[in-house]
Amino acid sequence: MIKKFFKSRGVRKFLRSKMAIASLGVISVYALVALVVFAGAISLDDVTNRVGVERMPGFLQQPSRELRLQAVDLRLKAMESVARRGADSTPEEQRRMLNELSLFERQVPDEMLFDEYSTLVVSARQAYDNTGDAQLEVEDLADELVAISEELHEMKSEGASAEDISALKDEQKQMQVELASIMPELDSLIDIVEAKMLQIQPIPKGMSGTIYKLRLSLGTDAKGASIAMKGLYSVKIAFQIGLIVSLISVFLGSFLGAAAAFYGGWVDNAVMWLVSTLSSIPYLVLMAVLIVAFRGTIFDDAQKPGLALVPVYTAFCLTFWIGTCRVVRGEVMKIKELEYVQAATSIGFGKSYILIKHIIPNTLHIMFINFSLGFIGAIKSEVILSFLGLGVKGQPSWGIMIAHAKDDVSSFFFWEVLTATLFMFGLVLAFNIVSDALQDAFDPKHV
């Protein structure tokens, strides 16, 4: 049957579509990521622990001077605290403290002695203090520039003489030049501090260095955790929800739909009653009800993120099977009148056997399409639910990322939203193309 499936006209037609093949490739990459995450390559610690200062921009954007200084200052304070507390401790204690300072792959080297470390911290602090004058000067100049431009504005609106205005403008220009000359100076001073920090906690060479750079590649979120890792980790959540929901709902939908169409009578009435009842409840409402229902049980515990997804699965499965059920029911209505079904009856097979062995295999293509559609639906709905705070708990997901980043966006920090959106966009687009191609290839109207 499988062999026949791959030989069939529909599959050949599907494989002829280049877009569909490319999309299948994209989906497999996502699936691979999901598998790798599932195997434990990215742990919850990776996505919650700090990897740097908050809201660090990703690879395209240079961090601002303020952010660099702030980042350095933050690290220095932590380092100084360790230097102070560790001064009188045993070497083991000292080592433990140094290790606690680590930013994932970036650690104080094993061979570095504590004294050496303390000296380096002191000199780094000095280098930081050296930036102080330049910092102050930049700040003053910036303040003055602001004041001047305000004054200029005022003078213009009051109609002051042209000479006064041009004098002020000259002054402004001069200050700008001055500021421009101090800036590189400040930058090079910051570079020095950063170099010292790198000496204390170097970025390792090779693989782990690359991983560290990957962590920072898409910036950090409002808690200083890696956005890239969150985005990747969420691929797993998306697949988990997508697969579980679409598998269960396609199975349920096609089985109930086929049974309803095939047996007719009260089976059909019962299934259609369920369909119309459930389809009149939006899954958001259902979700809210389920959350209340599950409150206080093990399914409502952010400490057990896996179990906390059960209400989400339930709500999606309860609503998603309906679409499949309707389509399969229609198809089986058609198939059951075909002669091969009558022929099977005339050979003597029982009804249930015919349904399972002869009819359901003929709805396989519908299941494929619905699986794909269900997958997309589940991913998109997860985002909406999580954004509303009803979905995923205790672990990141694209919806959670977008929800958390909504304040950042107003201050023009877009990395988290962008990452979540693009990751989701890629997967959903690929699945959309695949399901379109499936539909084209298997829909008898298109042959």
Partner: protein, 345 residues
């Protein structure tokens, strides 16, 4: 031809009496076939002919109980006796044992009568698995043997092919192989050749003729084509608007039709060119079959009958069987004045 057989005939294997099938529809209950009675004897071929819509398929599906259960009513007075059980009233479980094993059926549309997702071999094997206790390899052997019997070239290879890889004629052969693989006593063939082109049609009919002799299966051959009947049937019964209107041996029916409808039907088949003036048009039967919803009070053929009388409009004739074992449902049947001398077959 068959008459000699008729007199020395054994007991009928299938005895249909007063079969009346009604459907529940949106417009109410409609009687699709009314009071149909006939016998099928072992090893003979019974033809059922009639225009489309006259109830041939409903008759055959009633026997097999293939009609949709919740809309079909088989009248209580109907009985279909097969080996001591009444197919009209027997349990579904009993019916499943009869189907395929004892009475098999093949259908009109070869394009859809095989399941597209399974190989030909799988489908024959499935039937064998259900009805026999043969082992896997024995079943495979038997499947190949059956395909060979229905004259499919290279059965060892064909067995692994899917229906879409076969032509219409091939599929019909496979259907026949599937139907016959459990050696049923009765094979119902509902227009088995209608969807095929003429040469293939002749091959399939030849095949069925040959198989009947080899396997000694009784065949009920349903068709709207009297040519087909002449080729393969022993006896024939003509149906019109849900009623049997005439039944006779093929020889008698073709030589001395007694019902005006049968006569008109026979006149409308093309004959060999020399017996007919060139360019003469075939006489078609005027008028249309009455709708099952508006059946006339009297004879159902009255509107199209050239010799209908007031009596025909008032009262529906009964099916009268004469001493020669011919039945006709007509008040004024065409008389057999110079009864043809029967050559012995």
């Amino acid at each position: 031809m068959t008459d000699t057989k008729t007199t020395t005939r054994q007991e009928p294997i299938l005895k249909i009496r007063n079969l009346t099938t009604r459907f529940r529809t949106d417009r109410g209950i409609v009687t699709a076939i009314d009071d149909v009675s006939f016998d099928v004897y072992p090893g003979e071929t019974l033809g059922i002919v009639g225009e489309s819509g006259c109830g041939k398929t409903v008759t055959s599906k009633s026997i097999m109980r293939l009609l949709p259960e919740h809309i079909t009513i088989i009248d209580e007075k109907s009985s279909m006796e097969f080996e001591g059980i009444n197919l009209a009233t027997t349990s579904n479980g009993q019916m499943r044992k009869v189907r395929g094993n004892r009475i098999a059926m093949i259908f009109q549309e070869p394009m859809t009568s095989l399941n597209p997702v399974f190989t030909v071999g799988w489908q024959i094997d499935e039937a064998l698995k259900y009805h026999t206790k043969l082992s896997r390899s024995q079943r495979r052997e038997r499947s190949i043997e059956m395909l060979r019997l229905v004259e499919i070239p290279n059965p060892e290879q064909r067995i692994n092919e899917y229906p879409h890889q076969l032509s219409g004629g091939m599929r019909q052969r496979v259907m026949i192989a599937m139907a016959l693989c459990c050696e049923p006593d009765v094979l119902i063939a509902d227009e088995p050749t209608t969807a095929l082109d003429v040469t293939i049609q002749a091959q399939i009919l030849d095949l069925m003729n040959g198989l009947k002799e080899k396997l000694d299966t009784a065949i009920i051959l349903i068709t709207h084509d009297l040519g087909v009947v002449a080729q393969v049937c022993d006896r024939v019964q003509v149906m019109y608007a849900g009623r049997v209107i005439e039944s006779a041996s093929v020889y008698d029916l073709f030589h001395t039709p007694r019902h005006p409808y049968t006569k008109a039907l026979l006149e409308s088949i093309p004959k060999a060119a020399k017996t007919r003036v060139k360019s003469a048009r075939l006489p078609a039967i005027e008028g249309i079959v009455p709708s099952l919803w508006e059946l006339p009070k009297g004879c159902r053929f009255q509107d199209r009958c050239s010799i209908a009388t007031d009596h025909c409009i008032e009262l529906e004739p009964d099916l009268i069987t004469d001493e020669n074992n011919r039945s006709v449902r007509c008040h004024t049947p065409i008389t057999v004045n110079n009864a043809p001398v029967r050559e012995n077959a």
